[in-house]
């Protein structure tokens, strides 16, 4: 029974058709003490393959390789930090320059523009605007009257021009 089993497993093994499970079973059967004499020669083959698996590196190999890797890891660290710091400084410098430039532009514009001049260039919302000094109120009022007077004068001129043209047309029809 056992001999038949070993024979069958050996046939499959040498035909390259055995599964890992069957190969493990074959090793197990061949390791037993009462293996039939005819199969003892195959014991050597599996003993040889098992011994090959025991070959390994020296005990201190792992220590040596890890020391090398740790060293490379440490050497790589400062480079990354230096790069990060230099980029942060560059970005901060650009940001500071842009902020300073904007602040200078905004503050210089507001100092140079007098309120009266603003009143001349913009349409004033009279419901919200409150002059801060009597002089400023006087200047704004004066400018406003001046603008109204100019408008009236222009209107009179246009109207008189229109009347003159109508008189000429009347003469043609008469």
């Amino acid at each position: 029974m056992k001999q038949t089993q070993i024979q069958s497993l050996l046939d499959k093994y040498f035909a390259g058709e055995s599964s890992l499970q069957e190969e493990a079973q074959l090793r197990q059967l061949l390791q037993e003490e009462n293996v039939p004499e005819a199969f003892k020669t195959y014991q050597n083959l599996f003993k040889f393959l098992d011994q090959e698996l025991e070959i390994g590196l020296d005990g201190d190999f792992e220590t040596r390789i890890m020391r090398e890797i740790e060293q490379q890891h440490v050497e790589a660290q400062p480079k990354i930090r230096r790069l990060q710091v230099s980029w942060i400084l560059r970005i901060a410098a650009v940001f500071a320059l842009v902020t300073a430039g904007l602040w200078w532009m905004l503050t210089s514009n507001s100092i140079e523009k007098p309120i009266v001049a603003e009143a001349e260039t913009k349409v004033i919302d009279w419901s919200k605007y409150e002059p801060k000094t009597p002089e400023e109120a006087y200047q704004i009022t004066r400018k406003a009257f001046h603008r109204v007077a100019n408008g009236l004068n222009e209107g009179t001129e246009i109207a008189s021009e229109g009347l003159g043209k109508m008189e000429e047309m009347g003469k043609v029809f008469n």
């Binding site: 024979q7 040498f14 090959e52 070959i55 040596r64 890890m66 090398e68």
Partner: protein
């Protein structure tokens, strides 16, 4: 990946890498140097390791390719390889625990003289206990080629044992 993660995920394959390198180069010192170089190279490619599906197959493939590069290199030519083979024939097997009977030494010699692919397939299947699929992936061979190489390698070993399989 930090050194601790590398130690836990990649270093467990170091002996397997060594056995494969030894099987190809036949020289213990050369095989050890090669494994060291391969591990350092793997560490330097640590960013890629996270994307690797089958780390074991990848590590074995890399070891095999480095061995083949070394064998093709003028510095480690045929002369050195044969020298290694002679040393393997003459010297006791690498591990002191290993029984160095004539049969064992002869089996070692037969395996060392097998064609490269047969040797590698037998090493990964019969020594390392990998499945046909894993062997195919690690050696970048079609499954059918793996089985053919394994069949031929086992037949060579059987011929050496020179005892006809007894009939039940």
């Amino acid at each position: 990946m930090n050194p601790i993660e590398f130690k836990n995920t990649v270093l467990p394959f170091k002996d397997k890498m060594f056995r494969l390198a030894l099987r190809l180069l036949n020289k213990r010192e050369e095989a050890e140097d090669l494994v060291q170089e391969a591990l350092i190279k793997l560490w330097q490619q640590q960013d890629r390791l996270a994307d690797v599906q089958n780390l074991e197959a990848w590590v074995i493939r890399m070891t095999k390719n480095q061995c083949i590069d070394k064998l093709r290199n003028a510095k480690f030519g045929l002369r050195e390889w044969k020298e290694g083979l002679d040393m393997a024939d003459a010297a006791p097997l690498p591990d002191a625990k290993i029984e160095s009977s004539d049969t064992m030494r002869n089996l070692q010699k037969i395996m060392a003289r097998l064609p490269e692919n047969q040797r590698l397939v037998m090493q990964l299947r019969d020594v390392e206990g990998m499945s046909y699929q894993e062997v195919a992936e690690a050696l970048e061979l079609p499954l059918a080629q793996v089985k053919i190489n394994l069949f031929r390698a086992r037949q060579a070993m059987k011929s050496f044992l020179s005892v006809p399989t007894p009939k039940a």
